[in-house]
Amino acid sequence: MTPEPHLLPNGRVLRYSYRERLVHWLAGFSYVYLLLTGLAFWSPWLFWIAVVLGGATVSRELHPWAGLVFVAAVLMMYRMWASGMKESPADAAWWKAVRHYIRNEDEQMPSADRFNPGQKLLFWGFLWNGLLLLLSGVILWFPQYIPWSLRFLRYLAVIVHPVCALLTIGLFIIHVYMGAAIERGAFGSVIRGDVSRAWADRHHHTWYRQLLRDSEARK
């Protein structure tokens, strides 16, 4: 793999490539559509969402297709990020100190690599739940083709699908909250792709140091 020039000439640090950002938003937009249409069928009190989005029949037709797009995007993420998302021995210490992270006492956090353990949890949570949502979703998509003798598949699907959806909703709330409100600078990293050096150093110290070493070595 040819090392990307992460240290940009303008003094900022490239965090996500164009490709990574595209895939992120493919997953993001398809997920939000899935979430909204899914919630419409989840609760009669939210059925109006499906009406706003073009009618419940349309939502029912498109939700599974959006699901395929979403899972495809998550699999692309897997190809791009799986190596960086592997659990590392340092993660335990990070989790132990997580209350400092929650209280914004970031100086007291052990240093994180390109992805911190929380982000890893998010990634694997979305990957595994995404696959389970796909499996159960396909059954919900075509219940009429599941023979009566295999009806337990349908009985499983109606519970697995919403449970996995709820788990991802939990991850999603935290993810959006952190990305949009808490981690100032993070949102830009998935829009323009870059972050400041100070940001990289603070939040992903191990990663940033490695970038510096790599660029030294290349000189």
């Binding site: 059925f47 009566w148 519970i159």
Partner: protein, 297 residues
Amino acid sequence: MSQATLGIRAISGHAGSVPGAGVERGLEVCKLIDTTTCIGCKACEVACLEWNGLTFSETTFDNSYQTMPETSWNYWNLIKFNEHEREDGSMALLMRKDQCMHCEEPGCLAACPADGAIVQYVNGIVDFQQDHCIGCGYCITGCPFNIPKFSPTARKVFKCTLCNDRVTQGLEPACIKSCPTGCLHFGSKTDMKDLADKRAAQLREHSGFANAGVYDPPGVGGTHVIYVLHDSTNPEAYGGLPKNPTIPLTVQLWKTPLKWLGNLAIIGGLIGVFAHYLRFGPKIVEEDENGKQGARQ
């Protein structure tokens, strides 16, 4: 239309109150099927097709008299044939008219997410309103009797209406009208229950069917279609009539406890992050001299 609303006691996927609940006084109707006097002539199958004007479909020959393996979106009424071997080795040709059971607690309606796609009338009839149906097929999973069927062309689900259109006009369902042996009866639930009990007692006392009984399964609150069976201890033998049907356990979990848990968790999560923001606010990284452009804040 207002008359229809008055007669409705349950609505699928409905937020808020039910317009007709507790308003109209009405008899609960019931269809009684005496399997012991059914001759398998299929007059009721034809009557159903004719009254409802359903399109014709292929029949399937499977070494039995049965028209097709199970009811279909355009075949709501099917006699199920079973060559049943009794314990003493003798044969019985069991015939049972299969159709929607019009459950008192309908699993189809509990599962349906679309407002008004399934309604239950005060008289007990469970009716699909295809113009509100979104074709999701949840009802297929909710029904313990394998009744709602998806039409690939309409992309909606169909089933027996208990001839709701006839019943509201004071007529009996078309199948009842067509039955040549009188094994089908229609009336109020209490009358039909009475008649069924009497017939079962007769079978037990005079015809040597010691296990004869009435099928009105309590697991779904009773049904508005009930059977007299020669052997009520083995309903499965009658073309797979479930012994103790209930709304599938996962459907029950999904529609009540999980819904509450999930909604509380989502609302709790949203309140939680908001409270966190008020307490701790954002993580702002002061810029070093290289980061003049600054993070977008």
